[in-house]
């Protein structure tokens, strides 16, 4: 009897992997038609992801934001909300993280400085997530619409702050002041210049923690109940309004932590357009993980590898460009989404 559920969740995972493999296979078939050997493409992707300390560091650098945005999509999804707004949330989180330099330029302790930046990033993104949560709870506004709108507003707000309030006057670019060194995160030496350090372990720990939190806490249960049957949850006294607002706040906050990876870990300032569409790829990450919180780890890694590999494909081959990576990403999403079709048919 226990075996039944184990099988069910295992089967979902296996199906997801099969779907992803199918997508990858189709993508490789496409390059075969263009005259590049699929084996070579696989080799390039592998080399690009793991070939050297630097490459691996860069892969993790691309994976890390996807862990967060994957969570930012998967968590509200369990309460029945589709968060398209992770991009705006991470923008606001990063902007807030870069603002600590102005708010508290003279912090001495690195621990305090980083804790402060984390709070800023989390709250900045969290507020941006809580707004659609609030509108949904109080006014019934559809979260897909409001989160998309807020993505644009975040772009506008961040551009305003970057260009007029926090602007680095020495730079011709759209970027904020450089953060004092106390705010800089260390990168691993062995990554040889790739901007990723112990932070990756903290992020993995966050995923694992949220996995346990979602499953074992009363809040996680109520979230699931609302997502599954909001009417029944209401009959038994669970407030969907509270759940929606809190889950969107949490999601926004987690997405906002992308700001820590970028602002504290990488460029040490906020730059307009730094995100490689992490907020949107996060939707795909959550989809491939099938809402399983732990599944976000391999799923984010897969998309991180493909993002890292996009430039390498361009570099290492004559005919294939970065677009192949996006085609493969798309086919993987299709493969996973379509999996429902072919497994249902088999029944």
């Amino acid at each position: 009897m226990k075996a039944i559920t184990m099988n069910a969740s295992m089967r979902a995972l296996v199906k997801s992997i099969l779907g992803a493999m199918l997508g990858l296979f189709l993508g490789l078939m496409i390059c075969w038609f263009t005259g590049e050997s699929p084996i070579k493409i696989l080799k390039i992707l592998f080399q690009s992801a793991f070939g050297s300390g630097y490459d691996f560091g860069m892969t993790l650098f691309y994976t890390a934001p996807l862990l967060l945005t994957g969570l930012a999509v998967a968590i509200p999804f369990k309460s029945g909300l589709f968060n398209i707004g992770a991009e705006g949330q991470l923008t606001m989180g990063a902007l807030a993280a870069s603002a600590v330099a102005v708010v508290a330029p003279n912090v001495q302790s690195p621990v305090l400085a980083i804790a402060l930046a984390v709070v800023f990033a989390f709250v900045g993104g969290g507020i941006w997530g809580a707004i659609p949560g609030f509108l949904k709870a109080k006014r019934g506004s559809h979260e897909v619409i409001t989160t998309i709108m807020l993505n644009f507003i975040a772009a506008g707000v961040s551009a305003y702050f970057t260009l007029y309030v926090l602007k680095d006057p020495n730079s011709a670019q759209a970027e904020t002041l450089l953060l004092p060194s106390v705010y800089h995160l260390k990168a691993f030496e062995c990554f040889n210049g790739a901007p990723m350090g112990p932070l990756i372990f903290w992020l993995l720990a966050l995923v694992v923690f949220l996995y346990f939190w979602m499953w074992h806490s009363v809040w996680g249960y109520e979230l699931k109940a609302v997502g599954e049957n909001e009417k029944a949850a209401g009959v038994y006294g669970i407030s969907k309004q509270k759940i929606w607002m809190s889950s969107m706040f949490l999601a926004g906050g987690v997405a906002g932590l992308v700001g820590i990876i970028e602002v504290l870990g990488n460029s040490h300032r906020f730059k307009i357009g730094f995100s490689a569409d992490y907020g949107f790829v996060g939707i795909a990450v959550a989809l491939v993980a099938r809402g399983n919180i732990l599944g976000i780890i391999p799923s984010a890694l897969l998309f991180g590898i493909l993002q890292k590999g996009a430039g390498s494909l361009d570099l290492e081959t004559d005919k294939v460009t970065r677009d192949l990576s996006y085609i493969i990403q798309g086919l993987i999403i299709l493969g996973v989404a379509a999996e429902g079709l072919w497994t249902r048919k088999r029944k």
């Binding site: 009897m1 559920t5 249960y221 029944a232 009959v235």
Partner: protein, 515 residues
């Protein structure tokens, strides 16, 4: 001639046999009943016949020829049609378009010739005496009975010889039921064969020519209808003798001799005048079952909502509500639960269950903060699972695995799970709504037993039901609702279905006495 014959047909889902070695046959030109409890495998068998599921063993003969039915379209081409329990109609499209979908008569260039189609439909409708003419109305404007007729006409239009109807009367009011069977008999006279899936013995006995009984995925037997009776069929269905009236013990309790109420409602009215509930006052005593009767839509649902979730009605209703002498007029469900209130909601699917979660997860809905199930701030699923295992034994919930999804359980077992959950904190007040709606015979007994046991333990029970027989069987008192008011109150010795029925229709209780 045997138009349909099943020979050792099996259908498996995983390791579970939904159908095992089914063998029976249906004579051409008859109405053939297929009965069994929920989950007995009736619908699965018919879905195999209609090509929705491939069969895993045995064979099906159509007009005495072995046929491998590949899919529903193939089944239709073999003259088999099915009306599903939930109609498969596009609500916003017209009746005509719904019927001709997939079989459109076309002129040149694939243009649909609706006039030809309408003429043909009119002809079908008249020749079978179905009296239907709303071809160009959108389906959404039709009554449920009319929609069903559209489904039947659709099958006739597709030239089906065998019509499978899955629980056709579940959604109909009595007049419509009568009309349906009049129509079905006419179809039979015209040579069509009808397979009727049902779990209502009375209609099967009244309208079919033969009946096949299924239990737990197997055929128990096939009977000629006029040679059998309700008791025999019921025994075949359930596997043992069943009675149709409650036979359990009804204790006489001290609290009934000297009532001291645990729950009072005073002058409850809804704010908007067009909404129900007008000046409701009543009391509930321990050790009694208070039945709430009435035709659906006369305020019972709103009353239950107020009683079980007063805070959600805060802006919509005025009135006083006391439990054990304390006001709970604005309480949340959680506060009520802490005051000893248990609830079995009206609609188990939409209000009671998380269909894609297992029994454990469903069991803690509403009691996720109960200290028994919390350790160190987190939900202790081991404790919950252990308790669910106890309840599975206590209530005979099937299948007896805590990991089964609620959505995969039969209605009766879902209802048992809801009862088990409501009773888990040992409430002193219990609200039970429609506990046996769509539930099979075996489970009904179990649920009625559980309700009566609570009463006999001295608990106060309110029973909301649309089945008058059920209310009269169990209740100590009945309040009849009509137009948002308490139209009449009956004590057990006054129970009379004719009297109660009249007050449900708005008549006076006293008038009955004079007649």
């Amino acid at each position: 001639m045997k138009i349909i014959e099943f020979k050792n047909v099996s259908k498996q889902f995983g390791t579970f046999f939904a159908n095992q070695d089914l063998s029976f046959s249906v004579e051409s030109g008859t109405i053939h009943g297929l009965i069994g409890e929920n989950g007995a495998g009736k619908s699965t068998a018919m879905k195999v016949l209609f090509g929705i599921y491939p069969l895993d063993g045995g064979e099906i003969l159509i007009s005495e020829k072995p046929s491998l039915i590949k899919n529903p379209i193939h089944a239709m081409s073999l003259g088999i049609g099915m009306v599903h329990q939930h109609f498969m109609l596009a609500e916003t499209e017209t009746v005509l378009d719904n019927i001709i979908l997939g079989h459109e008569p076309t002129s040149f260039f694939g243009i649909i010739n609706r006039e030809v189609a309408q003429k043909e439909l009119q002809k079908i409708s008249e020749s079978y005496g179905l009296h239907f003419s709303k071809w160009n109305e959108p389906v959404s404007r039709l009554s449920v009975g009319e929609q069903q007729r559209v489904e039947i006409i659709k099958l006739l239009y597709q030239k089906s010889e065998v019509l499978i109807l899955d629980e056709p009367t579940a959604v109909l009011i009595p007049q419509e039921v009568k009309e349906l069977f009049t129509n079905l008999r006419r179809l039979k006279d015209e040579g069509k064969t009808i397979i009727l899936i049902s779990h209502k013995l009375k209609e099967v006995l009244e309208y079919t020519d033969a009946v096949t009984v299924m239990r737990r995925g197997k055929v128990v037997g096939t009977k000629v209808t006029r040679d059998t009776n309700e008791d025999e069929l019921a025994e075949m269905m359930v596997g043992r003798k069943v009675s149709f009236t409650y036979q359990g013990e009804r204790k006489i309790l001290a609290s009934q001799v000297k009532p001291k109420s645990v729950l009072q409602v005073k002058n409850l009215s809804t704010v908007k005048t067009n909404e129900p509930l007008k000046d409701i006052s009543f009391e509930l005593n321990p050790g009694e079952i208070l039945g709430i009767a009435g035709v659906q839509g006369n305020g019972q649902s709103e009353l239950l909502r107020f009683l079980s979730h007063p805070s959600s009605m805060a802006s919509k209703a005025n009135g006083e509500y006391y439990i054990q002498g304390r006001s709970v007029s604005h309480a949340s469900p959680l506060e009520l639960r802490n005051k000893g209130v248990g609830l079995v909601p009206e609609d188990r699917i939409s209000e009671g269950l998380l269909l894609q979660q297992d029994m454990t997860e469903n069991f803690i809905l509403g009691q996720q903060e109960d200290p028994r199930y919390i350790s160190r701030g987190f939900i202790n699923r081991k404790a919950v699972t252990a308790q669910v295992q106890n309840k599975i034994k206590e209530f005979d919930i099937r299948p007896p695995y805590t990991t089964v999804w609620a959505g995969k359980m039969s209605g009766g077992n879902q209802q048992k799970l809801l009862m088990a959950r409501a009773l888990d904190p040992d409430p002193s007040i219990l609200f039970v709504a429609h506990p046996t709606r769509g539930v099979d015979v075996g489970a009904i007994e179990k649920i009625h037993d559980a309700i009566m046991q609570e009463r006999n333990k001295g608990k106060a029970v309110m029973l909301f039901s649309s089945e008058l027989d059920e209310l009269m069987d169990l209740s100590d008192r009945i309040l009849v609702f009509f137009d948002g008011k308490i139209q009449a109150e009956f004590s057990r010795r006054e129970f009379d279905s004719w009297d109660i029925g009249r007050t449900m229709g708005g008549g006076d209780k006293a008038a009955g006495g004079e007649q």
